[in-house]
């Protein structure tokens, strides 16, 4: 008896971080820990919102919302290094 359901939170096995061509780089000195980037990231992967963002690059899709939204321009998108086999 096969019931079509999925277990919670199991998308974490999709490493959607591979999608990105650019990745956000944070200038820790500039960051004022406002949590704005944390809150607007569509992936929810920037760590503890009271701290400087610690991005989980396994899932970061490189959308650059964090770069655009950071009020102090502490985030810059840089070309993603190629991981080829």
């Amino acid at each position: 008896m096969r019931i079509p359901f999925s277990k919670p939170g199991t998308t974490i096995s999709n490493k959607t971080g591979s999608w990105k061509a650019f990745r956000p780089e944070i200038d820790a000195k500039k960051c004022v820990k406002c949590a704005i980037c944390h809150n607007f990231c569509p992936e929810g992967i920037m760590g503890n919102p009271t701290k400087i963002p610690e991005i989980d690059f396994e899932y970061c899709k490189g959308c650059a919302i964090c770069e655009v939204e950071c009020p102090v321009k502490a985030i810059k998108m840089v070309r993603e290094p190629l991981k080829e086999k």
């Binding site: 939170g9 992967i45 760590g47």
Partner: protein
Amino acid sequence: MSKQSDLHLLAPGHAGCPGCAPSNLLLQICNTLGKDIIVVNATGCMEITTTQFPQSAWRVPYIHSLFENAPAVASGVSAALKAKGNNHTTVVCIGGDGSTYDIGFGALSGLFERNDDVLFICYDNENYANTGVQKSSATPFGAATTTSQVGSKHHGKERARKPIVEIAAAHNIPFAASASVAFQADLKAKLKKGQAMKGARFITVHAPCCLGAGFDGSLSIKLARLAVQTRLWFLFEIEGGKLKLNFNPKVEKPVQEYLNGQKRFAHLLPPLFEEIQAQANANYARLLDWHERSVPAQKE
């Protein structure tokens, strides 16, 4: 809950586009409402990107049945909880604008009429994104989609957006509101308020679709903010016939600032900009008037 990927009630690894504002909205919803909820979701981008077998991004109980019946499914969930004597779990129904404004609107209107105990949230990305960007009733005037194409005879959507919040409020439900993914404090307050109430509560949240509107995903939040600032989207809530404008875009910011970056508006010529500006200003005037009429009765 230490790893970044475990932080939220919605896991990463979902298939939303890079920069998808509706995906961010889901995070905001889950985090604000907490664990004691049951999510009913209509077919659409947020369903397909979060629950591809054998995976799911959701860490709260979740059900998807069809595109047009989510409100009725939610009524059933709510009734089942009632029958079991559960009076704490919040039933949250989430639909896209296509489901909410169009194909599921009959069911939603039924839910409103019965005042069933459901918090309905529309992620309003202004198009049928999941099927590749067709017009919905939420698609703004003038926007090109694949079913409101620009040609020699017709030039994008010819009707204004369906005024869904006013229509919902006209049903005399306890709470009908409009919010934006870019205005988080306001959104959170409305979610909390809605959660605390009983009966049918409705919130529609503007959450731009970069793919559908044709702009870079990095701009999703910025454009959501601009929509509010240019009076093309409003933050307000209606209770008992009284309207409260939660954000007053006093200064007229030209609509072009919002329209210009988006491919769906690329065909627009100046007369249409003026038309859209006039619509924006008229909507503003109308809501402000309602707001001001409602003021004496408002608590704040």
